[in-house]
Assembly symmetry: C2
Homo-oligomer: 279 residues x 2
């Protein structure tokens, strides 16, 4: 859906950590290259470049920027700039402050932004989408990730969609560690009947196992359609060796939870991260 001028307008905000200006510049330059027909306008909210301790500005600043962009009826999609922790600290009544302008919109991001994707999906506000963020431009082959994200946002180009899952199935996708922290809260995603896709990076095997304990023993998981495993990259060395691969671990917990394990899927903390629109 484009606004009345036929141009697609995307607003970028950073509910977690700040976006380096060089990354925003590189994304803007790439957009000029691939959308030279003026069909796309990407607006980086100045909050993306704020920095306060760990975060892209205070909780109040990050909340205000998100609400401003989400509630703006002239903006077609909210694109989250970067993960890294912080979305959980937005104001507690965030969703009550989302008006009609926030409903007919996509919200695209992953990793720490799973907190907001889950909260939006749980409440049926707009459409939460798991996929690349502006910060991914800094990865090797990162321009492909940016192209994939924007082509999907602008024209629903399905070339970038995650395609290993049954196409008729409802689905959600999360970082394992992030979901483990959401699952017991009032912003836990609705998992009933959905395929749950999981990915992670830079964790110890025992910590992945512990996160899967939190996820797979929560009663919300019992009704999901099954679990698929994306890429688990840069697993930290366990001492002693953990004795199970990440896929072994996921299969173990699926078996305990009596949830089908449906195999591998095509998401991860990398430039190949495919797009998963939640349903």
């Amino acid at each position: 859906m484009a606004n009345k001028q036929g141009k697609k307008r995307i607003g970028v905000v950073a509910p977690s950590r700040c976006l380096p200006k060089a990354a925003a510049t590189a994304v803007a330059r790439h957009i000029d290259d691939i959308f030279d027909d003026g069909s796309l306008e990407v607006f980086f909210h100045p909050q993306c470049f704020h920095s306060e301790g760990h975060f892209a500005g205070s909780d109040a600043v990050r909340t205000a920027a998100f609400l401003e962009v989400a509630n703006d009826p002239g903006i077609d999609a909210v694109w989250f700039a970067r993960g890294g922790y912080g979305a959980a600290r937005l104001v507690h009544d965030l969703y009550d402050r989302l008006g009609p302008g926030a409903r007919d919109k996509e919200y695209l991001g992953y990793s720490d932004l799973g907190v907001l994707l889950a909260g939006l999906q749980r409440r049926g506000i707009g459409r939460a989408v798991h996929g690349p963020m502006p910060i991914d431009i800094t990865r090797e082959n990162g321009e492909a990730a940016i192209t994939r994200a924007l082509r999907w946002l602008v024209s629903k180009d399905d070339a970038g969609l995650e395609k290993t899952a049954d196409p008729s199935a409802m689905r959600v996708a999360f970082n394992i560690t992030v979901l483990a922290h959401i699952i017991g809260t009032s912003s836990a995603p609705e998992l009933s009947g959905r395929i749950l896709m999981l990915e992670d990076i830079d964790e110890y095997a025992y910590a992945l196992d512990r996160s899967l304990y939190a996820i797979m023993t929560n009663q919300a998981v019992a009704s999901c359609a099954g679990v698929m495993l994306g890429r688990i990259s840069e697993v930290r060395e366990n001492d002693p060796d953990f004795g199970m691969t990440p896929e072994d671990i996921v299969q173990y917990w699926c078996e305990r939870a009596r949830v089908p394990y449906l195999g591998r899927c095509d998401i991860g903390h990398d430039a190949d991260n495919k797009i998963v629109p939640f349903s």
Copy 2:
């Protein structure tokens, strides 16, 4: 409570990681020194010394050892050998397999063993107690921790009890990271009316904040009497600086959850870790 010979019998098992034999030997020697009247017998189950990958034996081996000692009416207390992750993987119907012999007993440990302390307290089985474990003999001044644990188990010597909290208040104590993973499961502790004491070690500030998000936004916390903060040791360096101390973080989340913050308490991953019998 001692058994019929007037001798207190304590069984040691390791539901998480294995106990080095040298640690068990040092504990046994220390017991000979401080309980030279034969009033105490400590039995190290051979499972403590098993090792399989990360764990002190397979899930089945760890489960069987725990059930054997817990269900033995001739054993007065179960003392957990060491934390380090693994208790979450004991068999899913563990508590259904605990018979009458398991009820009139203390269960002493901390850190990863919070999983079992919570599960026992939630179901009213025996008495869960947060305090030193045999592995603590390897800490500097660790013998004091062992003495404290055993004097309390043998004679309810209250010298080792945590004393900063209101003595009339019910209480529980947990490692922050471990509780964040328990809170959404069917083995979440009963927090209603209790003071919740928290401690942690070797985590990034952002990870502590994220764990507190999981804990403090879970509805189970709303009814607790308040939160007290033990020691948070060896905080990993955040890049950039997180901008809040661990106490700032706990106060922030207490305020958001509208739960009273009741100040510091005397528990932690160290030899000074005091004893907190759950209620």
